[in-house]
């Protein structure tokens, strides 16, 4: 008898916990306007949202499948697995086989320097570098690439042509300076007529999009860099 009595609160707890678990699942709230019988749907977590003027609306929780014309809810972040997209949305992170993170946005992607990690908090992206510093990334790789290409008078940055974009920290002492470093080989003409190739680098500030530094070989001042067509 005593055991049975003890079992009652446990059972009640279990029923409530199960109920809470079931209700926490994504459902759809069917909202009917009682005036014009217009039906709208809203994706919720088990309960309908509080709406003022509730008297003219009726609420009904319906399964998610019943929703019509409701955009699918945003995909929750997945586990950090090799070659899996971690975060959905316009930009995405991808972990490469060498355990480096690739930050992708539209046509361009930037590799995070070795030992660096990227985290996403709502719409803010934060980079944690191997030297222990961290910084917010406000500029997307495609914007940075376009600014660097404009400065270097280049047309495009294709990975197959050995063009790389790396997200790294170049701050000195206690300052953190996250930059996108675009590196590419380009054609140059020494004295304006001797054809040659040279490696060029441009660093773009990942916080405000300004050009931080442009690096060229020593002999670059004696060479012309024709604009790519």
């Amino acid at each position: 008898m005593k055991k049975a009595l003890m079992m009652i609160p446990i059972l009640v707890f279990a029923v409530f916990a199960l109920g809470a678990f079931v209700s926490a699942e994504e459902t759809c709230c069917k909202i009917t306007n009682l005036n014009n019988e217009k039906v709208t749907y809203e994706i919720t977590n088990g309960e309908c949202p509080p709406i003022p003027r509730a008297a003219i609306f009726s609420f009904e929780i319906v399964p998610l499948e019943e929703c019509e014309g409701v955009p699918m809810p945003p995909e929750p972040p997945r586990e950090n697995q090799a070659n899996k997209i971690i975060s959905p949305g316009q930009y995405r992170f991808e972990q490469m086989e060498n355990k480096r993170l690739r930050f992708m946005h539209e046509n361009y992607s930037a590799m995070c320097e070795e030992g660096c990690n990227l985290t996403e908090n709502q719409t803010r992206i934060r980079a944690y570098f191997a030297n222990g510093r961290n910084a917010e990334i406000k500029i997307m790789p495609d914007v940075a690439a376009e600014r660097a290409l404009e400065r270097l008078r280049l047309k495009n940055c294709i990975e197959a042509e050995n063009c790389t974009i790396e997200l790294k920290d170049v701050g000195e002492r206690n300052e953190t300076l996250p930059v996108y470093e675009l590196q590419r080989e380009r054609r140059a003409k020494i004295f304006g007529f001797i054809g040659s190739k040279m490696n060029v680098k441009a660093q773009v500030n990942a916080e405000n999009g300004e050009i931080v530094k442009v690096k060229k070989p020593l002999w670059a001042f004696l060479a012309s860099e024709p604009q790519e067509e």
């Binding site: 400065r151 008078r153 004295f191 001042f221 004696l222 012309s224 860099e225």
Partner: protein, 66 residues
């Protein structure tokens, strides 16, 4: 002593090197500031290097003949 344009001495050498570097730097500055580039700016450094080579060879030949 007869003056010869291609008979190099330290003074001519320094002037040639200065012309090469200064015109190269000017070319680089124009490119960096105005984002404008023309191969015309590289004529002077090219001529400077050409002068150094030609005058160097010429001076060696003349010195050996003496």
């Amino acid at each position: 002593m007869k003056r010869n344009f291609f008979r190099i001495n330290w003074k001519k050498f320094y002037i040639a090197v200065l012309i090469i570097f200064l015109s190269g730097v000017i070319h680089n500055l124009i490119y960096a500031v105005f984002n404008f580039e023309d191969a015309v700016f590289l004529i002077l450094p090219f001529l400077g290097i050409l002068y150094l080579i030609v005058s160097g060879v010429y001076s060696l030949i003349v010195r050996k003949k003496k």
